[in-house]
């Protein structure tokens, strides 16, 4: 179906195009991701939503086990998340009701973010592509085993044209592709964001 990308793992980028770790854009992008992780850990989703562009695409394909030569490693036409601003806003609104039982009591969440690399684009200074790894630790109650979700992310950050968003460098998230590292998720649901 046309609107769905096959969701292949991000294409390997050449080291040469990766911004130096001292580059301001990289420092801002890194800070954006760490600040964002704090919002996601504390489930401050209204603030998180304010950092997303209105044309956000938030995609988490379903990974599948395939032969090395198969040429694909995601389930064709299926994703865990395949979201736009409206659907994300409904998810956030739902957590704000008093009846989102799955997160009441809330999970204890820790988004560990690392392996951050920032790539400049040739045609614009107001967008960068940022790769990162995220490891989410999620603990609920006192009986269940905690769950871990490991994923790679490829983000497109775009600078707020009005320079009003109070994020590092006024960056906003315009696109995120989450490449989860398991074919069968070991968590009861994805009532969280990565």
């Amino acid at each position: 179906m046309t609107s769905r990308s096959p969701g292949l793992a991000p294409a390997p980028r050449t080291l040469g195009r990766c911004l130096s770790f001292g580059d301001t854009r990289h420092l801002e992008a890194h800070q954006f991701l760490v600040d964002e992780a704090a919002l996601l850990d504390t489930q401050d989703y209204d603030t998180w939503l304010s950092l997303l562009t209105t044309d956000i695409r938030y995609l988490m394909p379903v990974r599948v086990t395939t032969a090395r030569g198969a040429g694909f490693d995601t389930a064709p036409g299926m994703a865990h998340f395949d979201e736009d601003h409206y659907s994300l806003s409904r998810r956030v609104a739902r957590f704000a009701t008093e009846h989102a039982w799955t997160e009441d009591p809330p999970s204890r969440l820790r988004h560990h973010v690392g392996n951050v690399r920032t790539f400049a684009l040739e045609d614009t200074d107001d967008e960068v592509v940022v790769e990162s790894a995220v490891l989410l630790f999620r603990s609920r109650g006192d009986v269940r085993e905690p769950s871990l979700i490991s994923a790679g992310r490829e983000d497109l950050l775009r600078r707020d044209p009005c320079r009003r968003v109070p994020s590092a460098g006024h960056w906003m998230l315009a696109r995120r592709t989450i490449s989860v590292d398991e074919s069968v998720l070991r968590t009861q649901n994805l009532a969280i964001f990565l």
């Binding site: 599948v64 389930a75 064709p76 395949d82 659907s87 739902r94 074919s183 649901n189």
Partner: protein
């Protein structure tokens, strides 16, 4: 193994010993007597459309390759090399002309035939030592297809699938046969929940009582207009053959108006009109009941709902269909496989919006599903202890003390089976009765298969 007669007796009178949702002994018995004989859904033909396409699916602990061979025949083959027992296919989806065992290189055509056996002459003395000719990967004891849905049974004497489904096929058509070409199935999303497999199957079969409460958040956020208690209890609950489900009562109107209310475009409605039987059309058009959640015993469920998926002023909704399997992992853990289903002839735009509707409501990220699973995980862990062995849960909603129904079955209902309007645990009881019938009936010991040499 203890005598479970008392448990089955309790279940049959609608009192459920809570430990059945987390009990190692009962789980061992379920593997043998429920999953060892029932028809188990494994895949849909649209998942393996071309020769060589395959998916690998399990029936509890048994791995099967579901493959379409070069002549177009769909097969289910036990994924174990005939030689030393290695899995011959370790991917879960792909296309292959052959499966080659990584251990010693035995290879099999995608119809299961053993075609490659290294050093057959030197090591075995050729056909005289190991008869290669005619050997195949072990086929599933029974395989049958309905509306493209592929089921296997571990019982070689299983009745034909259509007979097993019985009158539930009438309802299954409403999900999977909206046009002559039927559905295409996309997915599945797979995830593990620490919940017993029966809880989800029972919930989908008949628990309309939970929607106004558990799923109230999706109404509050404007996603869904239906599950208000008043709406939900006007729906009919039906049980027919091997399955049962819930329905919504649609607002008054003609067949077309009612299907439009659910969000179907006119060209799909036109195909339903020529595909469905008169009785199927009457159930929607005259009776005003539209299928929602359902389960086929033991572990296949379906769901059909119609949320709002776009940020517009209008109240336009888009229907979606999902199939899911509650694949047991252990007494207290289930792998959920959840697929998106859509009529193959639906307009492309409809398919895209319907997929979006599915993702918002059900599956690993679905907003309905999230709160449901929270309940089921909690039930399962609480059912593990000794207090749960003292408590019999009341599963008698809809029955008076003398077993008479609170209200009589629907007199005018166009579908087969028995239907009631209002809340009631009729279908949960029917699921558990089928479960009890299986558990008390031993299965015939399987016939071992000898390979190759001995004559």
């Amino acid at each position: 193994m203890s005598d479970h007669g008392a448990v089955l007796e309790d279940v049959r009178r609608g009192m459920v010993p809570a430990h059945i949702y987390n009990d190692e002994e009962l789980y061992a018995l379920e593997k043998e007597r429920v999953f060892g004989r029932s028809w188990i859904f494994v895949a849909h033909e649209s998942e393996v459309p071309h020769p060589g396409d395959y998916v690998v699916r399990r029936v509890v602990d048994d791995s099967f390759i579901i493959s379409r061979d070069e002549s177009g025949v769909v097969r289910a083959m036990f994924n174990m090399c005939l030689h030393r027992g290695m899995q011959v296919c370790r991917a879960e989806v792909g296309n292959a002309s052959h499966f080659r065992c990584p251990y010693h290189g035995w290879s099999y055509k995608n119809d299961g035939r053993l075609v490659g056996l290294p050093f057959h002459g030197e090591a075995y003395g050729g056909e005289e030592g190991f008869r290669k000719k005619g050997q195949t990967l072990l086929p599933a004891p029974s395989l049958d297809v309905y509306n493209g849905l592929i089921f296997v049974s571990l019982d070689p004497q299983a009745p034909p699938l259509r007979e097993y489904l019985g009158d539930f096929a009438f309802y299954l058509d409403l999900y999977t046969h909206q046009s002559p070409e039927g559905i295409e199935l996309v997915g599945p999303q797979r995830w593990r929940v620490k919940a017993n497999w029966k809880i989800g199957a029972e919930n989908f079969a008949g628990d309309s009582y939970h929607t106004p409460h558990t799923d109230s958040s999706v109404v509050e956020i404007g996603l869904f207009r239906e599950p208000k208690a008043s709406k939900r209890k006007e729906g009919a609950l039906y049980w027919a053959g091997s399955g049962g489900g819930t329905t919504y009562k649609l607002p008054p109107g003609t067949l077309d108006e009612r299907l439009r209310y659910v969000g179907y475009p006119d060209e799909m409605i036109a195909r339903m009109r020529t595909t469905w039987s008169d009785a199927q059309l009457r159930m929607v058009g005259d009776d005003g009941f539209m299928v929602s959640a359902a389960s086929v015993f033991p572990n296949l469920s379906l769901v059909h709902n119609w949320p709002k998926v776009e940020d517009t002023e209008s109240d336009d909704v888009v229907p979606f269909i999902s199939l899911r399997q509650w694949q047991p992992v252990s007494a207290d853990e289930t792998e959920v496989l959840s697929w998106f289903a859509v009529d193959r002839n639906a307009p492309q735009r409809f398919k895209e919006l319907s997929y979006k509707a599915y993702l918002m409501c059900f599956g690993s990220t679905g907003m309905f599903e999230q709160d449901d699973v929270e309940n089921w995980v909690s039930i399962t862990s609480t059912a593990a202890g000794s207090m749960a062995r003292r408590l019999r849960l009341n599963n008698r909603m809809g029955l008076l003390a003398d077993d008479k129904p609170v209200s009589p079955p629907l007199a005018h209902f166009s579908g087969p089976g028995v239907a009631y309007v209002g809340f009631g645990e009729y279908n949960q009881r029917a699921m558990l009765r089928a479960w009890a019938d299986c558990l008390e009936t031993p299965v015939a010991p399987p016939e071992p298969v000898d390979l190759g040499g001995t004559s």
